[in-house]
């Protein structure tokens, strides 16, 4: 098993333009989480969050990026996931993060679900300019 590199500094961008890129993005995210010493359970949460965010990009904006970045808080490692697109933006952000709300016929678990499984959740969205969701997950 590879040893985690606690001080690893990483930042890279996974372009998301089709549904196949969703898998790539979440595999990259899981790999980074594991390198940062996340447990398999925590790494799965990170991968799940990335999967939801990447799908939102494909579904609503067509294309965008997932940026994965390592974070450190003292000795604690974390991972920052930034999902950004230049799509139509979200009309009502407060509604979009409410459980059960969906405009796509989905389970309505996308954004509210992601918010539940991460430690920090920020969303900035502007009509016609796009949406950026930034989430942080710290190692337990």
């Amino acid at each position: 098993m590879p040893q985690p590199h606690p001080e690893e500094e990483a930042e890279f961008c996974v372009p998301v333009a089709s549904i196949n890129d969703i898998v790539t993005a979440r595999l990259e995210g899981r790999a980074l989480a594991e390198r940062l010493g996340f447990s398999p359970g925590e790494a799965t949460l990170v991968a799940t969050a990335i999967s939801e965010l990447a799908r939102n990009i494909v579904q609503y904006a067509g294309k965008g990026d997932i940026v994965l970045r390592s974070a450190h808080n003292g000795k604690r490692n974390g991972i920052v996931v930034i999902a950004r697109d230049q799509g139509p933006g979200i009309g009502d952000v407060r509604l979009a993060v409410r459980a059960g709300y969906s405009t796509s016929g989905g389970l309505g678990l996308g954004l509210p679900g992601v918010r539940r499984i991460v430690d920090d959740f920020q969303i900035v969205s502007e009509r016609q300019l796009g949406t950026t969701v930034t989430v942080t997950k710290w190692r337990g």
């Binding site: 196949n20 898998v23 595999l27 389970l107 678990l109 679900g113």
Partner: protein, 123 residues
């Protein structure tokens, strides 16, 4: 990557081999619905042991598969949801309600045998 579907007597067994794209999941749905008719199958097992993530889309597709297969007259059981995947699903708010699950392939087969026996014995 297409999911291989194996016919074993009156059951179909679909074993997911790796992380699946949305497209692969939808193809699996179509393939299973067709094959249930083609082979007159009574039960379907979807083995998700190799799945790294069951997000809202994958969960919804699995739920749809189970419901569509039921409308085709067969039972579906999802087997092999990994512990960390199950944990993440619940945190996300996914419960796969009204979808049968079993620990692994063996338990899944036992479940279907019992379910079909029960159905045959009913008046």
């Amino acid at each position: 990557m297409a999911v291989p579907i194996l016919k074993q007597s009156k059951y179909l067994i679909a074993t997911i081999q790796s992380a699946l794209s949305d497209e692969d999941l939808l193809s699996l749905q179509t393939a299973l619905v067709t094959k249930v008719g083609q082979f007159r199958s009574r039960g379907v097992i979807v083995d998700v042991t190799a799945l790294d993530v069951l997000d809202s889309f994958a969960s919804r597709t699995l739920r749809d598969i189970a419901h569509i297969i039921r409308l085709r007259g067969a039972e579906t059981v999802i087997v092999g949801v990994q512990p960390e995947v199950a944990f993440a699903m619940v945190q996300l708010g996914i419960t796969l309600e009204k979808v049968s699950t079993a620990l692994d392939l063996e338990e899944g087969l036992a479940y279907l045998d019992k379910k079909l026996q029960h159905a045959a014995a009913a008046p």
